[in-house]
Symmetry: C2
Subunit: 201 residues, 2 copies
DNA sequence: TCAAACTCCTAACATTGTTAGACATTAGAC
DNA sequence: GTCTAATGTCTAACAATGTTAGGAGTTTGA
């Protein structure tokens, strides 16, 4: 027996959970992840700290879920970029990755870098796998549009992804002399040869 | 007037400082950075916590110095790898980078990823700049050994470095399906085309 | 021999993530 | 309509964190 109140309460719980995630994200965006404490997350919604534990078993779980949110958003952007004309699609994908990272650095940091995120384990977030698949499919389409095939689709995806991540990661840490503009240029201009090497036929 | 006791005390201070750094490093290697607390660092040397503040102004300063140590070690490994025969030098450099990262993951994590490390700012650690220069010089030599030149030496260095870092970073996080072995293979096989694209003439 | 400097400690502080226990309010059954 | 159970929320507390204050005990240099 499912009453209407039960439905309402469940929905309210989902909304509260989403608001907690959003609050954490906003605080991280405004003041960095060091400022993201349980009390501040709850406080931003005018609740006391322990409410968080009715929606997440720990702070880490909240962070992990935020990471999943990030991968979902990224996958969406990648999918969008894959819809453009085939000739510019490779640059568009990289551009989408880059744009996502710098539009939501707090999410990007939650997705990468932050230790304590379970990844190698079995429960790699489904959203991450999904983003990866989207990327791979796009790369394969690009290759086919050139009348070729990827020698090792999964390997090519890992390789390209690693390169994008390396560029973004260094740029975001301020480690590319010349700033993010130059970093982006470097990334884009290396994209084509790197991809070409993944293609056979 | 510099007495012999002053000299001894200064030496002892330096040694103590080095032992604190080493202790932090060992704890990080054994149990991860989350386990690295001021009390544990000092405790490992059978001191009480506050001694740390006679050698570092804060925990972050210790971490920053450890990062510098990491870059110094990495630079040494890169320099060593640059001494081999020219034809295999590119792979040797990448191999050295990879080997360093996985031989001292705790250092690698302190050098990258950990937030709170001042980088974009003026005081980029000299050791980091040094490692970068070593890498650039080696890349230029490799190009010349092929009778060519790098179109943009600094840019090529950033690009190659970003790729290496991306590969190591994803592999270390357990995000390359197939494990580190496959990750290393992917990295090595993409190395040559990526470098070739940096060369002109 | 004596004051200054140095080394190191214990005790405390505010802040962190997290748990326990209590107080209200609401839900569903009789 | 009333009673019991569940739910939402709070305050108070816990241990552990980085950090500081203040004070012993020793060493230094005159």
């Amino acid at each position: 027996m499912v009453t209407t109140s039960q439905r309402r309460r469940e929905r309210e719980r989902r909304e509260m959970r989403a608001r907690l995630l959003q609050a954490a994200r906003v605080i991280a965006a405004e003041e960095g992840w060091n400022a993201v404490t349980i009390r501040r997350i709850a406080g931003r919604l005018e609740y006391s700290a322990p409410v968080l534990y009715q929606h997440f078993s720990s702070k880490e779980e909240l962070l992990t879920e935020l990471m999943a949110v990030g991968f979902a958003e990224l996958a969406g952007q990648l999918r969008l970029a894959a819809e453009g004309p085939p000739e510019g699609r490779l640059a568009a994908m990289a551009g989408a990755y880059w744009a996502f990272a710098f539009a939501s650095p707090e999410l990007y940091q939650a997705m990468n870098g932050m230790d304590g995120v379970p990844f190698g384990t079995a429960e790699t977030p489904e959203e991450a796998r999904n983003a990866f698949r989207t990327f791979r499919a796009a790369l394969q389409e690009i290759a086919r549009a050139r009348g070729a095939e990827l020698a090792d689709p999964a390997g090519a995806t890992d390789t390209m992804w690693a390169f994008l991540h390396g560029c973004v990661s260094l740029a975001m840490a301020g480690r590319i002399a010349g700033g993010t503009e130059r970093a982006r240029t470097l990334m884009v201009s290396a994209l084509e040869p790197l991809f070409a090497a993944q293609v056979e036929g």
